[in-house]
Amino acid sequence: MKALTGNNLADGEAVFLGHAGDWVPRFADAELFDDEDAALAAEARAKTQITIVVDPYLIDVIPSEHGFAPLSYRERVRALGPTNKPEHGKKTEGGEAIDALLHAHGAARSKGRVELIRRK
């Protein structure tokens, strides 16, 4: 399962492609793709939205205790905010959707980082 993520152009916030084709700040509101082709098509479309989102890429998603979570730890940090400051970032919202991210155990290299380094 995949989700599509990137950063808002205007403020840099980590965002996810939502169900209505909009970009949403909460991972819990992200559109999850079962179909690889649909995911790739969404990524290709997102790359044309240059005034909205920067460097969109697909991430792997896994089931967690109360929902779904990004497989890669890096992507969970993006979806939650920095772990050194409990008062900053998306995790401050709390609730089940945040718990799902906090309790996820998956591990994999982040495609976001790999691509960033490849482009450097």
Binding site: A10, G12, T51, T83
Partner: protein, 552 residues
């Protein structure tokens, strides 16, 4: 302190206006991200995990209270109320919005600050000994020379597209507080036997994937030829440095390839072929810069202060602060006061807007309006009367700025790591927090003594792990955070690169591993030995045995 003149101010104003227009063109879609990225990076604006990050240059780590108040205003108005001081003596703001960036740069320009050349393959912010102008053993004020290099290198057209980034550090004291051996160029000002001022020139030091200590390519360069010699080094690098492979593009790889002597021959030949007089600073200009750093009117004071001594005798907590955070000053009756940004449990190097405001007030009241940034992510008030230290200490304590741990096990360097940085493999800050909490009792930290722990979240080594007495490097093992430990590094006068202890350990075992190594040290140490000394005597074996017995 050096003050910008009318030309400097005009250049900055132009640059802000230019960047404002570039941002508007990006937001409207006229520029793509690929086109815009290099423009924003030229203004120190990165895109990180949660937001844009602005890296603000602090030349040779020197700030006045007006600048600090401006930074406090900016972090309150445009960020989340704090900034992060880095190992390059810059300040990073981690929660910046693109649409605010031009306004922030305009605010910075009002106080003679900017973020130019804090990114890109150019000559970056120049660093220097943070004790400059206050330290008894310096042969000259290194800020004068760092400022000359700053002016020469800013917007230098020939060196704006080097093979890779380029960092220069200057010291004028035998004790190395500027990590000059791990810089692209390290400059060590000294006097030769004839009493003439000159630079020992080190080239090709660096950390990252292939760490090197910089070899000396010239023992004594007459100080007046500094700029022409730097030009020669950079020309050789520009000509022969590799542009085809980012991992081999730094000057250290070129110097290692040619050998220090071979590289030096190239530089000398280039230097002799150029017209040095066209580049070297005219005496008049040097005198103008020097005047900006002329010592203020220090008062004639007795070497000892009865108020200071009485406070030390009467309050063990103050005495502990003095032992670790107060250093001798070249003027009798004055002291250099270290301010630790390493309260155990907090993020190393972070400073809140409220703390910046307080420090601006204290710098103004007690330290001739000067504050310095140390590359170990701490701050310094360089010119404090001994009589004033007790009152200063009390004031620092009101905002947790009185942690008495400079140089101790809890004074940990940590890069932002995976909590913020797009390049990181693993987190660095929480590891620092875990270790510092183990040694939070000041008496325990003091018992352990001098021990530099340095943590990087990836091989780029912003956290200087190769030169930590204990170095910790975050690595990615199939997406999980693991940490490789190195021992025996130092970035000071006795510089050395750490040796790898063994297999990386998981995140939840790092603090235990440090505990075990400290236990070995306490068991093995002989009179007066620092951790580093004991390690250098015993080697890896006892530490390795202890860590892998307890970690697995």
């Amino acid at each position: 302190m050096y003050q910008y003149d009318a030309i400097d101010k005009e250049m900055l104003a132009d640059r802000v206006a230019e960047f404002r227009e570039q941002c508007e063109r990006r937001l409207s879609g006229e520029l793509t991200e690929d086109q815009f990225k290099r423009l924003r990076l030229m203004n120190g604006l990165y895109l990180q995990l949660h937001a844009y990050m602005l890296r603000i240059a602090i030349p040779y780590g020197a700030l006045n209270s007006k600048q600090l108040r401006k930074l406090a205003f900016i972090v309150g108005a445009y960020d989340k109320g704090y900034g992060h001081f880095t190992t390059r003596t810059n300040l990073q703001l981690h929660w910046i919005k693109l649409r605010d960036a031009p306004d922030i740069l305009a605010h910075l320009a009002e106080v003679g600050m900017h973020a130019i050349q804090t990114s890109g393959n150019d000559i970056r912010n120049i660093t220097a000994d943070p004790h400059a102008g206050a330290n008894a053993d310096e042969v000259d004020d290194p800020r004068i020379w760092a400022e000359a290099i700053r002016q020469w290198s800013t917007f230098h057209p020939e060196f704006s597209f080097l093979p890779r980034k380029f960092k220069i550090a200057v010291t004028a004291s035998p004790a190395d507080r500027a990590a000059t051996k791990v810089y692209d160029i390290g400059l060590r000002l000294h006097r030769n036997d004839a009493g003439e001022l000159g630079f020992e020139v080190l080239v090709g030091g660096g950390l990252g994937r292939t760490p090197y200590l910089g070899p000396v390519i010239r023992q004594h360069l007459p100080a007046r030829h500094l700029l022409s010699y730097l030009q020669a080094i950079l020309r050789v690098y520009n000509r022969h440095g590799r542009r085809d492979n980012i991992w081999k593009a730094r000057i250290k790889v070129l110097v290692a390839g040619l050998g220090a002597e071979g590289f030096a021959r190239e530089v000398e030949a280039e230097w002799e072929s150029a017209d040095a007089a066209q580049v070297d600073l005219p005496d008049l200009e040097l005198a103008r810069i020097r005047a900006a750093f002329t010592p203020r009117n220090f008062e004639r004071l007795p070497a000892a202060s009865s108020a200071f001594e009485a406070a030390k005798a009467g309050d063990p907590a103050f005495a502990r602060f003095v032992r670790h955070n107060v250093k001798p000053h070249k003027i009798p009756g004055y002291a250099i006061v270290d301010i630790s940004l390493k309260k155990p449990g907090e993020t190393p190097g972070d400073c809140s807007g409220e703390q910046m405001e307080l420090l601006a007030d204290l710098a103004e009241r007690y330290s001739q309006d000067e504050l310095r940034v140390h590359y170990e992510q701490n701050l310094i008030l360089p010119h404090v009367k001994l009589d004033d230290v007790p009152a200063l200490w009390k004031a620092l304590g009101t905002l947790d700025l009185d942690t008495p741990n400079r140089g101790l096990v809890t004074d940990i360097i940590a890069c932002p790591g995976l909590d913020y940085c797009t390049l990181a493999n693993a987190r660095a800050i929480p590891i620092a927090q875990q270790i510092a909490k183990r040694f939070a009792d000041p008496a325990l930290a003091e018992k352990v003594g001098e021990l530099g722990i340095k943590i990087s979240g990836c091989i780029n080594a912003c956290g200087h792990h190769h030169v930590g007495a204990i170095g910790i490097l975050g690595v990615d093992k199939k997406g999980e955070e693991f940490y490789q430990l190195t021992l025996g590094g130092s970035a000071e006068a006795d510089a050395s690169l750490g040796q790898v202890l063994g297999p990386a350990v998981p995140a939840n075992k790092v603090a235990d591993a440090v505990d075990s190594m400290v236990e070995v040290y306490l068991r093995e140490r002989k009179d007066g030995e620092r951790f580093l000394d004991t390690f250098r005597r015993t080697g890896l074996a006892p530490f390795k045995e202890a860590v892998y017995a307890s970690a697995h």
